[in-house]
């Protein structure tokens, strides 16, 4: 994360700052997109301004100079747009986008503790300056004179509208109160920031300092007088003092250049007495309170979605919904549909943006009544930032409760089958509470995919620039929520597929015009919930998959036989075939459209699928479907001898009882089964896992046909099926290591451990097995990153 900062006393604050930056910049991307689409609402501009301003404030606090310099001018430009002295046009939007990209990179440089290259962002800075000064943009590649210098001075250019035209002189009296220091503010930083605005003369009045023996260390005895000659507006100066305005006596007086006072403005100090050490500051009065909880989200408990049992009385609603108590055995499922999809938990930069997106209102009369907009001047903290570890602990605990509960419930059935006992009804009631609890805890981990989607526009911009293509990216459903773990895993595959579409799917503008299409291509990125899974679509209106070429390549690489005849659909899916491409890393993004097989593998390792539909000349549509969480999976519990295993339902195609004549034995002892004309290799779990007392007669077994990666089908031979259930995934690697053919473990209702099969691994395993176990162990266990550092026993003789 922050390698060079581990010993930094501000480490924790920096982590928070960078987290906020990510959030803010993520929002910024969507604000800018709105702006590009012609929404020139002043609220939007304010929101954009605030993002940059917040980052600047943080950067100033941590002395990230480059970031401060850049954001300072960026902010200045935004301010001009905000106050209407400039109007937004396409040129400006482009510059804003570019500047935003630079800002993202600057944040990354600071995060990694890397040296920012000297010329970095100079070009964008020059563009900003040019815009501010109303000049034409500098030539691409021409390096501006101001590159690398600190805040470039604005030449005495008169701007078009005159709120802040020309230079002015401000006289500022500033005397901090003790509370200013208690809130961890530092006058030096304020003075530095002021000096960044223009020519600053500082005089310190230290006459208040008492004799040493009566001096109180907690008090502040200094008063400063600044004379600032600046082109900045009064607002800029106010911003410098934004965080301390309640903790000091502040007077800002504007003079004209001859020193005559033209306007007096005394900022009322807060009404706390001087002898009050500022312990009782009203948090809400702190403007732009930089508390890390500046987010707005509706509380995630959504009354409308009381799923299928109105068990919990909504006190606000003032009415008791009488619900029918249902208790079906299989309802330990984690209901995605009951999650409030319409409450994006993204942080909004400011309260004012919130007005437009999420009205804050006093407690409504009834829970579901429509809420009237009521502007409030203060951001109410309606969400908090919680360490993911804490949430994970909670999730684990709930998982334990679920297991313990099902254990109790199954014990109960062994007892007198008398459901009328208070014990029975207690257990039943508890199962409802637990289900509710599990849903809610899972909902805490849910995040909108927006955090990933918001990174894509930049990739599209960068890549399309490189390829000289015109592209418009349209995103839909970015507030669709999935488990945090899934969101994190999505970034790489999505990045890869978007690049793939840009590179292979879309044509150059000339080709498009020749084909009778608009010069600008379109890529659609959308997300939606469908049947307890999330479906992500990446569609382009490009040339589609070049089937003859794909087929030729596949034959060349030996992916398909020369003589094979494939349907169009099969040819399209060849792009995912292992060996079709040469890359071996999804993160290897320099390649041109390589590694789709790796994308598929990664998606499948998450329990997802990826498919493609393509039409020559019209475009291609890739679809990813993923489970909403990686913490639980739907499994089929199977029995082999005395053991039980879980097979992920996702992989199962069908289950059949083989007929004797359908089973054939190959030379090496491998059995295959003929199903609808195809021979499918059988994996005999009894042999593979050396299970005792298992049924040896294949015709008395059951065969579960499963699909492994790369569209391979294998048949897993088991003794019996014990039923389908949702299982909580537990790691084996945490305390042991990898075991061949086993993906992870879970805990069954009776408290015993049950192993979840690794279908892809089984398909890869040599059917004779055993021979290379050791080799496998070596390669896998040691690479799983666990090795204890044993100091050799060097006992003296």
């Amino acid at each position: 994360m922050l390698p060079s900062m581990q010993d930094d006393p501000f480490y924790q604050f920096k982590v928070t700052f960078f987290e906020e930056c990510d959030e803010l910049l993520g929002n910024m991307e969507s604000y800018l997109t709105d702006l590009e689409e012609g929404d020139h609402d002043s609220e939007l501009l304010n929101a954009i301004f605030r993002v940059v301003h917040s980052i600047k404030a943080g950067a100033g606090a941590f002395s990230f100079e480059r970031m401060v310099n850049f954001t300072h001018r960026f902010e200045f430009l935004l301010d001009k747009l905000r106050d209407g002295s400039m109007t937004v046009d396409d040129t400006i939007v482009r510059v804003l986008f570019d500047s935003n990209d630079v800002l993202v990179d600057l944040v990354d440089f600071a995060r990694n503790g890397a040296e920012t290259p000297r010329e970095f962002g100079a070009h964008e800075l020059a563009k900003i300056e040019a815009l501010i000064n109303g000049e034409s943009l500098p030539e691409e590649g021409a390096l501006p004179a101001a590159a690398g210098s600190a805040v470039p001075e604005v030449e005495g250019e008169k701007s078009k509208a005159g709120t802040d035209a020309g230079s002015k002189v401000f006289e500022i009296d500033f005397s901090p109160k003790p509370s200013l220091f208690q809130h961890a503010n530092e006058p030096l930083l304020i003075i530095r920031e002021l000096s960044g605005l223009g020519d600053l003369k500082v005089s310190l009045d230290s006459s208040m300092i008492p004799e040493l023996h009566v001096m109180e260390p907690e008090k502040s005895y200094f008063t400063w007088t600044f004379e600032l000659n600046t082109e900045a507006s009064r607002d800029d100066i106010d911003e410098v003092f934004e965080f301390v305005v309640d903790d000091c006596d502040l007077t800002i007086v504007e003079k004209d250049c001859t020193g005559k006072i033209t306007g007096v403005d005394v900022t009322a100090a807060s009404d706390l007495g001087d002898d009050d050490f500022g312990f009782f500051v009203n948090e809400e009065d702190l403007p732009g309170n930089q508390a890390s909880s500046n987010q707005s989200a509706e509380p995630t408990v959504d009354q409308e979605d009381d799923d299928d049992f109105g068990f919990f009385v909504d006190v606000d609603a003032g009415e008791v919904e009488a619900g029918v108590q249902t208790n079906d055995e299989n309802s330990k499922s984690y209901k995605a549909d009951s999650l409030p999809v319409e409450a994006p938990a993204s942080s909004e930069a400011t309260a004012s943006v919130k007005q437009s997106s999420m009205p804050q209102a006093p407690v409504p009369q009834t829970a579901n009544a429509p809420v009237a907009e009521k502007p409030t001047s203060v951001a109410k903290v309606s969400s908090i930032r919680v360490d993911i570890d804490r949430v994970d602990k909670l999730v684990n605990m709930v998982g334990e409760i679920v297991i313990t509960h099902s254990m109790l419930a199954s014990e109960l059935t062994v007892l007198q089958e008398d459901r009328q006992t208070s014990l029975g009804s207690g257990i039943e009631e508890m199962s409802m509470h637990i289900r509710e609890l599990q849903d809610n805890v899972m909902a805490i981990r849910m995040q909108p995919v927006k955090s990933v989607f918001s990174r894509m526009p930049r990739i599209v911009r960068d890549v399309s620039k490189k390829l000289d293509k015109k592209v418009k990216l349209v995103t839909e459903g970015e507030n669709t929520e999935v488990d945090k773990t899934v969101v994190e895993e999505l970034a790489d595959p999505l990045t890869h597929m978007i690049r793939n579409s840009l590179d292979h799917g879309l044509e150059t503008p000339d080709e498009r015009i020749a084909a009778g299409k608009p010069a600008e291509g379109k890529i659609l990125l959308s997300a939606e919930h469908r049947g307890g899974r999330i479906v992500i679509t990446i569609a382009d209106d490009g040339r589609g998959i070049n089937r003859p070429k794909v087929l030729e390549l596949a034959k060349e690489k030996g992916v398909v036989e020369e003589s094979q005849v494939l349907s169009d659909e099969e040819i399209d899916n060849l792009i995912f075939a292992p060996g079709f491409s040469t890359a071996d890393e999804v993160t290897d993004l320099s390649g041109r459209g390589v590694g789709m097989d790796v994308v598929r593998r990664n998606i499948q390792s998450l329990g997802g699928r990826v498919s493609v539909v393509s039409e020559p000349g019209v475009g291609s549509r890739f679809q990813l479907t993923l489970p909403l969480t990686l913490a639980v999976l739907d499994g089929m519990v199977v029995g082999v001898g005395e053991q039980k295993f879980v097979i992920p339902i996702n992989n199962i195609i069908e289950t059949l009882r083989p007929e004797k004549e359908a089973i054939k034995t190959l030379v090496d002892g491998t059995h295959v089964i003929k199903v609808r004309g195809e021979y499918i290799r059988l994996v005999e779990t009894r042999k593979t896992f050396s299970v005792l007392n298992a049924e040896t007669d294949l015709s008395k077994n059951l065969v579960v046909l499963v699909e492994a990666d790369g569209d391979r089908t294998i048949g897993i031979v088991v003794d019996k099926l014990s039923g389908q259930q949702q299982v909580v995934i537990k790691s084996l690697e945490a305390n042991f290591g990898r075991v061949e053919g086993i993906a992870s473990a879970t805990i069954l209702g009776n408290g015993s451990v049950c192993l979840i099969l690794d279908i892809d691994g089984l398909a890869d395993m040599d059917s004779s097995n055993q021979s290379d176990t050791a080799h496998y162990l070596k390669s896998n266990m040691l690479s799983s990153g666990i090795s204890s550092d044993v100091s050799e026993n060097e006992a003296a003789q």
């Binding site: 053991q643 050396s690 053919g741 040691l782």
Partner: protein, 180 residues
């Protein structure tokens, strides 16, 4: 009794990482007082640092882990954590333990991994001065002795101090698997 070679003065069990830092108190006559949990496997007595012991449980059925060395008896659900159980007798190359309800699993924490060892019985908590821990005799590469980092004499019985990190180091497990 084993006759031990002369004790070298620079032998310190703490240095070789078999004693946790917080398991000691200074004794009046120099050296530190440390505590161990001792247990029996067959006729021999072994001990581990008490600070590494999380809990002691009676034997319960575990789930087999396929394709692992013989001494990995399987995995157990310990309040939601999957814990591997190692058969110590088998680890020392003396065949599998025939488990009864009287057998005991000692759950240990080694760094951030949790695992259990299956032993015949827990005997005692022993308190000794580090001065009294003798270095293990020269190793003749016999399997059991690889894991012994020190010896102590408690009431005329010899107790061997086990180096659990080494016992469950994955590399040695892999080696064992290859040997099998």
């Amino acid at each position: 009794m084993v006759e031990t070679s002369s004790i070298s003065s620079d032998f310190d069990p703490r240095k070789i990482g078999v004693i946790q830092d917080d398991n000691s108190s200074v004794d009046a006559d120099g050296g530190d007082i440390v505590q161990f949990v001792s247990f029996k496997v067959g006729d021999s007595e072994y001990c581990v640092d008490i600070m590494a012991v999380r809990e002691i449980k009676g034997w319960a059925e575990v789930t087999d882990l396929p394709n692992t060395p013989e001494f990995v008896r399987g995995v157990l659900n310990l309040r939601g954590i999957i814990v591997p159980i190692f058969d110590l007798r088998c680890r020392f190359g003396q065949g599998l333990t025939e488990c009864t309800a009287l057998h005991v699993m000692i759950i240990l924490q080694v760094e951030d991994r949790i695992m259990g060892i299956l032993v015949d019985a827990v005997s005692d908590i022993i308190t000794v001065n580090t001065n009294e821990i003798l270095p293990a005799p020269t190793l003749d590469k016999k399997s059991e002795q690889k894991f012994i980092s020190g010896l102590m004499t408690v009431q005329e019985r010899m107790v061997a101090l086990l180096e659990i990190e080494k016992l469950f180091d994955l590399e040695t497990i892999v080696e064992a698997a290859i040997e099998e």
